[in-house]
Symmetry: C2
Subunit: 340 residues, 2 copies
């Protein structure tokens, strides 16, 4: 038996009420709060079907119903419209982001904003190096045998690494290296650089070849292998809202997961083009987050995507509102990046 419209309506009502009250919702309360036009008994029959299909369940016999992960999924996919943001929210976003002075600032402001608006844990990935291009490379002598390599990406990210040279290098040597490196790499997509770096060493004057080899090694490591994706986190205190009920009693596993950058990157770093992704409870591959939901999306200047952002909260969350906020923030951040 397929689900007719009223059953879906009942499911929606259950989800909405449960999200709001955090208490199992019964048939009588349902018909009172929503004008379904039928009696509690009818609703009960519908509920029985919904339960059989796995969309809701009872915490114990003769308690109200609670949505299952599958129930939320159906709700998100078919029953909810993304809730447009209020003008006040839009203004808040703009006001908050407009004053950012550099990339670090943008990311920090964004993550706090997102946490505040959604009242959940927010994660923002820095623009991915892998998706950036090299804007400029700078070599700063620290001592005769040490250079500081500073790489500036077109996304505004700046990475620095210390380079230990095999032998002393003169100021002229450094300038020469600097010119060569920039000629070859500036403007290149990060992904294309590994092939080019080898050429750098080959073309180099024999005198500087050793130094260049050293530099090349660090370059490779910085640009690709250890293309360390950074991220920012905020709003962990929001996990404590909603008492002990969410996250089955203990925040422990969730906090643990949040400490692992690798895990967070997996969560928000999927980056399907301009699609908002919602992972509900068990859909998360991470065991520690089986009782959590994640709403994430990509951001970037224009249509290209350079990084991900998202929020994490209990499966019992306001999906329409959260999705709308995440999308809106992502778009504003993208616009901001486009201006640079």
């Amino acid at each position: 038996m397929s689900l007719d419209d009223r059953k879906l309506e009942v499911l929606r009502a259950i989800v909405e009420d449960y999200v709001e009250t955090q208490e199992p919702v019964g048939s009588k309360a349902l018909v009172e709060r929503h004008h379904l036009g039928v009696s509690p008994a009818t609703v009960r029959n519908d509920m029985a079907v919904l339960e059989e299909e796995g969309y809701i369940r009872q915490p114990h016999t003769s308690a109200g119903r609670v949505p299952t992960d599958a129930g939320y999924r159906l709700f998100v996919d078919r029953l909810s419209k993304v809730k447009p943001l209020t003008p006040a929210e839009r203004r808040a976003i703009e006001r908050f982001l407009i004053n950012a002075v550099d990339l670090d600032d943008v990311v920090h402001r964004t993550v706090r904003l997102l946490a505040q608006l959604t009242r959940q844990v927010a994660v923002v990935q820095y623009p991915s190096l892998a998706r950036s291009a090299v804007r400029h490379l700078e070599l700063v002598p620290i001592s005769t045998t040490r250079l500081m390599l500073v790489m500036i990406a077109d996304t505004g990210r700046v990475e620095q690494r210390l380079v230990e040279l095999p032998g002393p290098a003169s100021v002229e040597d450094v300038l020469d290296l600097r010119r060569r490196v920039n000629e070859k790499l500036a403007g290149q997509k990060m992904a294309d650089t590994p092939a080019l770096v080898q050429g750098l060493v080959d073309d180099c004057s024999p005198a500087n070849r050793g130094t260049m080899a050293c530099l090349a090694a660090v370059l490779l490591e910085t640009l690709v292998e250890r293309s360390e994706e950074r991220l920012a986190l905020a709003g962990t205190a929001n996990l404590t809202r909603g008492g002990v009920l969410d996250f089955q009693g203990t925040l422990r596993p969730v906090l643990e997961a949040l400490e692992e950058e690798v895990i967070l990157l997996k969560l928000i770093g999927d980056l399907e083009p301009s699609k908002t992704r919602v992972r509900i409870g068990d859909e998360n591959e991470i065991d520690n987050l089986r009782s959590a939901s994640v709403v994430s999306t990509g951001y970037g200047p224009g249509v290209t995507i350079v990084g991900g952002l998202g929020v994490l909260g209990p499966t019992r969350m306001d999906y329409p509102g959260t999705i709308a906020t995440v999308r809106a923030v992502a778009r504003y951040v993208g616009d901001l990046l486009a201006q640079n």
Copy 2:
């Protein structure tokens, strides 16, 4: 009546037992676990005195005793010896830190290490700009009217800021600015720079003066006003150890406090020279942390101090062990910094 030796011994025993078991400790259990050489009744009398003096209290009539903040304070000041680290721990520290490739890496490794060793929340401040000297300033043209200002401090910290110029600047202009800025500021203590920056504008050729003024403004902001102290945090999951008892039932206020960088800086940024500071419960000025203790110290190459680090946990913590670990880690980090 002053506290004689045995009463102090009793207090120590109470603190140690309570820290270990997390349960109020009674007179009988005390004499059994520690060979105090007296009867429970005697211990009870001592306890009555200790309670009167405010060092311990009873959660309810006829339960065991629990140390008060004042009790922990006395314990830390007079009753505990700093516990030397085991060789295994020393090795762990070395092994963990030795592979760090740059400052970011050092800080991240340190904070994780500290969290892991103490099993508490760890905070590490990046080397403070205010306590650093300028090593080098680099100007990278982004477009004709935009520069990226990169400042490298002698502590290894790198800060960058975007500078919007009033009008287009040629490559020669930028080189000129770069030379002037470095001549004036390189090697200077950060604290001395504000006075020097004004001179920069005055000395500048009229043609570049507008540009230099702009640059100077950003410099000032970066170097002093917005001398944004960064920090790293780890181990929040450790807050959930020890059940609901610590932090009087809710992590909320603690998590909130941990999100405020300003608060964290106040906690670990006091930086008395080479002194380990312990704040116990109510001694914290931050209301949200009245049920927590903080152990912090400064670190730096040699005797100078460039930043702070520390851990935060329940007042019921292993003070001798924690203090020892915090000190040891600080020293290792200092040594590491000295090598650069």
